[in-house]
């Protein structure tokens, strides 16, 4: 079947299924089935089982339930609300106040977690109830979280960079280092936006919390210590070589349990409830991942992503025009597929043209992560949107609307990265100079 006919059919099926209220995972499976039926002689049933089994039997995924579990324990033990009370006096003078916790929290947590979904779920589970009860604008709470959650991919460790490095034979060590400065830049952009927004929209900010004297602030900051200490223990366990990034998640769970029990805030019922909640969230995310794995292989059979990428290659564009075209391509693909799938499906076509245009492959890895981050917050298929729907109960299209400014900032970051390639290349060049 002609692609010009097949692609629109698949888009209609996806939107139709989602709009009718079919669960996201099933909608992806349905589109995959239609694609296989129309475009490939391969037996869809066997492909489904093989790919879902293979795509989910992945050790790195085990970090997902662990981090989510850690978040659930912290929420139930009041450790997380202690942390917000402790932080409040310090952010009091900063325009935007506690909203910055979403940005800082996600940036810090991203140094532990390789995935955006885990970052959004863990930080969001703690910050949404806290910020809501303090009267912050829900649209800003959700938007900052959707945007900042994507740091999980840019700040090392990063699943995307591992996938890209493995497929293109680039050094994962260099890719990780290349992601650090752009990650910090993005955090600065997000914080800058929060300051700007809160200055312009004073009326939509909650009343300032009453000023506290210095002694009370210091006493309050002691309550920060447990959770901040826990996050540093998790990061430290990776850098001290005690745990791999995947294993470090278990350090987080164990630490959270110990803290919760030590402060007398955790009962057996609370323990079981936290584990149950983490199980449900993990099952939800992973079932969508299963649908995405099947849709990805179906797209591989149809050849749509390959042909679109090859079509861009044939246009013979200048480097900047090529990057602009690829950005548009990834944004459109990112609406329908998850980011890792797009990288897997197209990198073998795209990398040669990128290298031919004289673009550094390490730089391109960071570029890819930024565009993949955008795909996390564009509807209808965006994992941060799904996670936030579960946490906030709002639908994914509203969440995507709240996240739109941060999508814009991601586009701005891509432009900055293209204008100043050293943002990505300086750190690996300095640290690994051979």
């Amino acid at each position: 079947m002609e692609l010009s006919l097949l692609a629109p059919i698949l888009v209609v099926v996806l939107f139709g299924a989602l709009a009718a209220g079919l669960w996201v995972g099933f909608s992806l499976i349905a589109v995959g089935l239609v694609a296989m039926a129309l475009a490939s002689p391969a037996p869809a049933g066997l492909v489904f089982a093989t790919k879902v089994w293979g795509g989910l039997t992945v050790w790195d995924l085990t970090a997902l339930p662990m981090f989510i579990w850690m978040g659930e324990i912290l929420v139930r033990s009041r450790l997380s609300s202690d942390m917000f009370s402790g932080l409040a006096p310090f952010t009091g003078r900063l325009p935007g106040r506690l909203l910055h916790v979403n940005v800082f929290g996600c940036a810090l947590f991203a140094a532990v977690s390789g995935s955006s979904a885990a970052t959004t779920a863990t930080i969001g589970r703690m910050s949404v109830p806290e910020l809501t009860s303090r009267g912050y604008d829900p649209r800003m709470i959700i938007g900052t979280l959707a945007g900042s959650g994507t740091f999980g991919f840019l700040i090392p460790p990063s699943i995307i960079l591992i996938v890209y490095g493995a497929a293109t034979e680039q050094s994962i060590a260099r890719l990780f280092l290349a992601g650090v400065v752009p990650g910090l830049m993005l955090a600065a952009l997000f914080s800058g936006y929060i300051m700007l927004w809160s200055t312009v929209n004073r009326s939509r900010m909650p009343e300032a919390e009453p000023p506290v004297d210095r002694r009370a602030a210091i006493r309050g900051s002691a309550r920060l210590l447990p959770v901040v200490g826990l996050i540093f223990a998790v990061i430290g366990s990776i850098y001290a070589g005690i745990a791999s990034p995947t294993e470090a998640a278990v350090i987080g769970v164990t630490g959270a349990l110990i803290l919760a029990w030590a402060t007398g805030a955790m009962s057996w019922a609370g323990f079981a409830d936290a584990l149950r909640a983490a199980t449900i969230t993990t099952c939800m995310i992973t079932f969508i991942l299963a649908g995405a794995a099947f849709l990805t292989v179906a797209m591989g059979y149809t050849g749509i992503p390959r042909q679109l990428a090859a079509w861009i290659g044939e246009m013979g564009l200048s480097p900047y025009a090529l990057l602009a075209a690829l950005t548009v391509f990834f944004i459109v693909m990112g609406m329908f597929l998850d980011g890792i799938s797009i990288v897997v499906l197209t990198v073998s076509i795209i990398l040669p043209m990128v290298v031919q245009a004289g673009i550094d492959p390490i730089w391109f890895g960071v570029f890819l992560v930024l565009v993949v981050e955008m795909s996390q917050i564009t509807p209808p298929v965006g994992f941060n949107l799904f996670v936030l729907q579960t946490i906030t109960g709002r639908d994914i299209f509203s969440i995507a609307r709240y996240a739109a400014p941060f999508f814009g900032l991601l586009v701005l970051a891509v432009a900055l990265l293209a204008l100043f390639p050293q943002l990505a290349l300086w750190l690996p060049g300095t640290m690994l100079s051979r």
């Binding site: 989602l18 709009a19 009718a20 209220g21 079919l22 669960w23 996201v24 995972g25 099933f26 499976i29 349905a30 089935l33 869809a44 049933g45 066997l46 489904f48 089982a49 093989t50 879902v52 089994w53 989910l56 039997t57 992945v58 050790w59 995924l61 085990t62 339930p65 662990m66 579990w69 366990s237 005690i242 745990a243 294993e247 278990v250 350090i251 769970v253 164990t254 079981a272 584990l275 149950r276 983490a278 199980t279 449900i280 969230t281 993990t282 099952c283 939800m284 992973t286 079932f287 969508i288 209808p380 799904f386 729907q389 579960t390 109960g393 639908d395 994914i396 299209f397």
Partner: protein, 183 residues
Amino acid sequence: MRSFLDRLYQGALALAAAAFAAIALLVLFQITGRLIDRAARATGAPPPGLTVPSLAEIGAFLFVGAVFLGLAGTLRAGGHVRVTLLTRALPPAAGRVLGFAVTLAAAGLAAFATWSSAVQVLDSWRFDSVSYGMIPVPLWLPQGVMTLGLALFCIALIDAAVALARGRVPDFQAAEAARGEHA
């Protein structure tokens, strides 16, 4: 029947949670072994090299098993994400019909998934397929758990479709409403 099914979904969800906890325990054991090795090396003693063999593979099998066992319980708790904009905008009667159709379609897709997963189990059984790591795990075992989980998910969806057809509110809709998704 009602309470039997509910207990089945709950039991499978509890098993899933237990499997996640088991992963945590295995990883803790691995980390402890590494710390002991490190301490031994620091004191000049031979490191005992305590590790969990094939941890990455066995952990991944536990993960997949847990996820599929938990699907039905997650549905019942309203945990699976979907877009309810349209169903909310429709008049109640039309919304119920659409909800029934969608649930039935999901049950059909789950039946397809169960069938294809079962074929995979049979294949692995016939060919004695084993995993690649240091402990050769027969693949039909974790793949069988995946199939069971999918079958239970399918039953839970049919269960919900029947409830809708009889004009009752299935558990997942009640849970969604409780979270404020049906404003």
